[in-house]
């Protein structure tokens, strides 16, 4: 299966006052066509920034310092990071080939424009359609996405919708031009659980039925198990673990992933078992030093963990882990009594 998107050693930094904060460090990802990738991590780990970098919509003070972002179109390969941010080539990708779904729908939709227009805008930008033709297609898509009374809703304003409905509008905007790749940045974080499930089903259906590739950014591990084919775990700007969803969720190899999974409350677990949390606090990107970023909170940390660059090691079936404490078979040592370091 060929890849639709490849990131190789991407570094992104942000200018804050006179400093540069390194938000993404040597991020590499391969996204096979038609697959569903989930990028997970805590807030601030850089997952949203990765999404923004892919479509070159980083904020003004952000920059891709090095690395490649390659998009494999039907006929050509495009090196996204070399394209001009608002040039015609890049813009022909956005919306038409790569669609984005944003998290905060109330602020991500123009409050002064009707929703129908906002969806049709994307359509008419890339296809030569009349207003009526576009409107028809939008209404059709609204129906497919489960927006009731689509003809009337076409003329409604964003604030007149509930959160779940607005997210469907966002999905409409992202998919109306039928892009091959859809990136969804925490689309359901602000929604309640039942709506969350509906939206997730919707996205998964879109992937399966239309053969689209999805990248879902989330910090919710439960969602990952439902929809993902592959998972990439990020911590402080680095990918620390990557693999098929079964591998990562059933057999997490990185201590951080293990801790993350352990901290997910489960309905089946014993009520009296203490809910595990990850020890310590996430340091700020400004304070990162040599060695493993997780060293300060890892129960299995060793002296060697704090030095140099920790390489990404590949294990069975392309299960990649960035940890030097694993043996060749990919097993972690048992934590010793005094295993907790500051």
């Amino acid at each position: 299966m060929s890849n639709i998107l490849e990131l190789k050693d991407v570094n992104v930094s942000f200018a804050v006052e006179s400093d540069r904060l390194h938000i993404l460090r040597d991020v590499s990802l391969e996204v096979p066509r038609g697959s569903f990738l989930c990028v997970v991590g805590e807030s601030g780990c850089g997952k949203s920034v990765t999404a923004q970098a892919i479509v070159q919509l980083l904020p003004d003070n952000g920059k891709v310092d090095s690395g490649n972002i390659r998009y494999f179109d039907q006929n050509e390969t495009l090196e996204i990071n070399t394209l001009e941010k608002f040039g015609a080539k890049m813009r022909s990708l956005r919306g038409a080939k790569i669609g984005m779904i944003f998290q905060d729908t109330l602020s991500s939709l123009n409050p002064a424009h009707r929703v129908g227009r906002q969806v049709a805008e994307s359509l008419r930008q890339h296809l030569d359609l009349s207003k009526e033709e576009a409107k028809e297609r939008v209404i059709e898509l609204f129906k497919k996405l489960g927006i009731p009374d689509p003809e009337r809703r076409y003329d409604a304003y964003p604030h007149e919708f509930s959160g779940g409905m607005r997210q469907r509008v966002m999905i409409a905007i992202a998919t109306i031009c039928e892009p091959d790749l859809v990136i969804a940045d925490e689309p359901t974080t602000a929604l309640d659980v039942t709506i969350q499930a509906q939206i997730m089903t919707l996205l998964k259906d879109l992937q399966k039925s239309a053969g689209k590739t999805f990248i879902l950014i989330t910090h919710n591990m439960a969602l990952v198990s439902e929809v993902a084919d592959h998972v990439a775990v990020m911590y402080l700007g680095r990918v620390v673990e990557y693999g098929k969803v079964d591998q990562v969720l059933r057999n997490p190899r990185h201590p951080y992933t293990q801790a993350l999974l352990q901290s997910v409350p489960s309905l089946e677990a014993d009520k009296h078992v203490e809910l595990k949390t990850v020890e310590g606090q996430t340091p700020s990107p400004a304070d990162v030093t040599d060695g493993c970023e997780f060293a300060g909170r890892c129960p299995l940390v060793s002296a060697a963990c704090k030095e140099g660059v920790i390489p990404l090691r590949t294990f069975a079936e392309n299960h990649q882990v960035r940890c030097i404490r694993l043996d060749d078979k990919g097993n972690l040592p048992k934590p010793d009594k005094a295993g907790k370091n500051v």
């Binding site: 944003f102 991500s108 409050p111 930008q125 959160g163 905007i173």
Partner: protein, 310 residues
């Protein structure tokens, strides 16, 4: 708004009772006052012997009927004075408002969109200077250079002998309007620019870009459209100037408008005139805030439709 109008008019009425001239007195024309019996009748009708509240309402009623009172200085009915002078001020302020608003919106948008660019830097520098320079100084400078030295424009006043049509008078209008426009530009540009900068960082602009829209469309259709709000407010609150006149500019150019009237009135303590003008300005302000509310509801559908998320 209505209660505000009443309270303000009440304040003005009662405040002017502190002045040597009784507000009711000023409602009687000097000619009528010349005849004592007439005077007594009029005073009775106006409620001189009635409690203060009645006096206030009578005064208010007279105002509504168009009787603004009489100037102490000239004896002229104030409504006449206003009618005479209003057009001059309206001409001046309206022209300046239109010109400065259009320019400011354009420049502000370009400056905000191309932050750090040439337009941005120059306009910011000029604006910084602009707030430090008293507006009438601009007028004096323009007068000196363009009118006196170069004789490109007349040196003041609204009309020269023999001029008939508006087109004839136009040269007189240029310098005063230019001065007032420049004075208003600085603040307006800064406001627009800031509003644009605020909007440009909002999430829906990112969404617009993610659709692959060209930048000009993003700027015009999304950013500009949503930055208008605060600017409209600012402009609306300039409207009282239409009534209050641009006092200093009128003084520099000897422009026969309301501003000039005010200065004259203050110089000779012509209380009735001052009172009426303040009342009119206050009404203009209330009207302006009313317009702002309307503009807000037009610009922001959330206000119009009563934002309630289900």
């Amino acid at each position: 708004m209505i209660p505000m109008a009443f309270s303000i008019s009440a304040i003005i009425f009662f405040a002017s009772r502190l002045s040597p001239i009784d507000p009711l007195n000023s409602l009687i024309s000097p000619d009528a006052a010349a005849d004592p019996t007439n005077l007594a009748i009029l005073k009775e009708r106006l409620g001189f012997n009635d409690p203060i509240i009645v006096q206030y309402f009578n005064w208010l009623m007279e105002m509504f009927k168009g009787n603004f009172g009489y100037s102490i200085q000239s004896g002229q009915p104030i409504s006449e004075i206003l009618a005479l002078r209003m057009p001059a001020t309206l001409e001046l302020v309206l022209a300046a408002l239109i010109i400065s608003t259009t320019l400011a919106l354009l420049i502000g948008l370009i400056a905000g969109a191309n932050r750090g660019g040439l337009t941005d830097k120059t306009s910011r520098a000029l604006a910084a200077v602009g707030i430090s320079v008293p507006d009438f100084f601009i007028g004096l400078a323009l007068l000196n250079v363009l009118a006196y030295r170069l004789s490109w424009f007349p040196t003041g006043q609204r009309i020269s002998p023999g001029q008939e049509t508006f087109l004839d008078r136009l040269p007189h209008l240029v310098l005063p309007v230019a001065t007032l426009s420049i004075a208003m530009l600085a603040v307006l540009i800064r406001y627009t620019r800031n509003s644009v900068l605020d909007t440009i960082n909002r999430d829906f602009v990112k969404t617009a870009r993610s659709k692959g829209l060209p930048e000009w469309k993003v700027m015009w259709s999304h950013v500009f459209r949503n930055s208008l709000g605060p600017v409209m407010v600012l402009i609306a609150f300039r409207l009282p100037l239409l009534v209050g006149g641009a006092v200093l500019v009128e003084a520099v150019f000897q422009w026969p408008g309301i501003g000039d009237t005010i200065v004259e009135a203050v110089t000779v303590s012509d209380y009735p005139v001052i009172m009426v003008v303040s009342l009119l300005i206050a009404v203009a302000i209330l009207f302006a805030s009313f317009l702002v509310d309307i503009a807000k509801s037009i610009l922001d559908p959330r206000v119009r439709l009563g934002a309630t998320t289900e």
